[in-house]
Symmetry: C2
Subunit: 406 residues, 2 copies
Amino acid sequence: MEGITTIRGGVCSAKGFRAAAVSAGIKYEGRDDIALVAADSPCSAAAVFTTNKVAAAPVVYDRAVAARGKAQAILANSGCANACTGEEGMRDAALSALVVAGELGISPDDVFVASTGVIGRRLPMERLLSGASAAARALGRTSAHAHRAARAIMTTDTKPKEAAATCVIDGRRVTVGGMAKGSGMIEPNMATMLGFLTTDADISPAMLRRALLRAIAKSFNSLVVDGDESTNDSVFLLASGKAGNRRITRSCDGFRAFSAALERVCVSLARQMAADAEGATKFVTVTVKGARSEQDAARAARAVARSPLAKTSWFGGDPNWGRVLAAVGYSGADVADCRAEVFYDGVWAYRRGEVAGETQLGKLAAVMRKKEFSVTVDLHLGKGESTVYTCDLSLDYIHINADYTT
Amino acid sequence: MEGITTIRGGVCSAKGFRAAAVSAGIKYEGRDDIALVAADSPCSAAAVFTTNKVAAAPVVYDRAVAARGKAQAILANSGCANACTGEEGMRDAALSALVVAGELGISPDDVFVASTGVIGRRLPMERLLSGASAAARALGRTSAHAHRAARAIMTTDTKPKEAAATCVIDGRRVTVGGMAKGSGMIEPNMATMLGFLTTDADISPAMLRRALLRAIAKSFNSLVVDGDESTNDSVFLLASGKAGNRRITRSCDGFRAFSAALERVCVSLARQMAADAEGATKFVTVTVKGARSEQDAARAARAVARSPLAKTSWFGGDPNWGRVLAAVGYSGADVADCRAEVFYDGVWAYRRGEVAGETQLGKLAAVMRKKEFSVTVDLHLGKGESTVYTCDLSLDYIHINADYTT
């Protein structure tokens, strides 16, 4: 969209936000494992959570906060998921929020909590609470603060993930920034995806939620690593209103500009997650177009992105279009193999019954040696189109997820 | 069921059937790659095929044969799937059936054809047809003939798969036998599952089909390796009527006995397939019980069996109940983690909020060192129950499926 600018930045890029990270010794030694993001004043808030029916305590807790549409801080820890911990886990989540609220002098109703790590173990509350207090005292507005927070939420991620973008609304510069962690499975237990987004846009909670749902559909929900959905997946968005635009309360030009900037940030974070998924050696964008419907396109693209056979062929550098087409075939989407086409980075492998020969296979081999490529299936049946971000399935995925003892 | 006896045997165990295998050089060198099963006279016939919308030519051809409920022979080849081959592939399938019919002096309408192997390549018709003719001349009734046929249909299978069982109907001994191949993906392209079943029961085509659908639901359709469904999956069942029982034309004691014997054979073949899936080091039976409904139980069991996270934990010998419960959570099935229990071979790992401690983990570690174990989830919400046969996800799976060049 016109007027959207990608900038370097993270959760402190938008006006009115501070961040901190501290080492509390939850599980890891010698690294930060608690992050805190706090706004100077109460914000419009929206959040989206895992649909997994086995939801972790912080998710259950946060749903109530999100329902009020208002929040001011988010506490996150790595190393322990606080999932399958029953009533005690719920009390631990509430107590954590209470301590953060006390330190910041805000309402405990305005604090989100997020956890990631081992399932079925209680949070080490003494360490967590002293860590939360220390984080509250260490808050700062610099990009270094934001960057350290992005590192603190990492688990098997090999790189911190941050993104930011700006747009102009009512002549005022509006900024959206964020950080995220791990789309691959989290050592040792789960595939937790956490996203923390901040903006200085002035926007109502209802419109903020609408923008977040749209952006997530095109980004985090278009991300497929292994099809495993965690008990803790959460994305939070706080809007401080400090940009000075006229408050967005309905669908208008300002809303569209804001939504586009938010989507830009979310897509960037999602792509960073796919590229850094556990054991991933290749980042693959799967697009299905020409489908009978949007739903068909989405089904087919997800089936390809989830197929262990397709994923291992990408790892092996094999332009195995047969596996791709077979996954489309069992996805439930309508397909006529006599009309379909399969491309790798625009180079055809199969088109309407014609199969790649020697010369074409040479071109395809070159594409598949790249660290990043696209797989496109054109079904030639309609106008439905869907894109999914994913990665290959490698030997390291197995190593990372098998070489662990509970 | 009472009166069902498992016996050693295969496609020649039932009266009235012969089999043969020959080496035609379709793709592999120095091994049989064509199998032929032929009945002495026309049989009641039933067959079930892949639901993949990208169906191979032989599947399209066979659907018409199966619709007539009558058949007398099945020709199978490994090495080439005859999938995504358009009109020419359809002609190749029809011509193969014609040649077999000519050699056997039967109607071409009574011949099934089955292929497995590379997608997008035409069958080498000259070699295939001379192989089919040679097979017709080599037919025999011994268990050695059956065994050689079971070997000819193998691809990445490491062992041939055969099973047989008997029951008594109207005082006559009725036999069911069969062979199957590869539930793991077929090198190089596809996860093809082929099953060939024969029986000497006298039974109408309609009842034969009903029995086959039931048996498949409890066996081949309860088999999960990687969730990839092939373009070529087919299960064939021929009934010669030579046992001399009163013809089964409705649901009666005889039908129930026959169905139980058929299920016994199909379950045995399905278990052999899971145990021999590509790269599998462990055979795992996943049972979900206490579900709100049968459908919920089936959904949950399949989600666990498909979860790459759960499968790698089995490979790693890790009683990681959190991954199992999380898979149930995202399956769509109803679950309350405060009520659920997870067992490995009857040893509990999680029960109603209680988590396995040191002693219990020691017992669980012993279970997981076994080559074969069960994972049971009791949801305590109802009476729905479902069992799925599956295997772990190993480093060899990746090797087998990545180290291939189209």
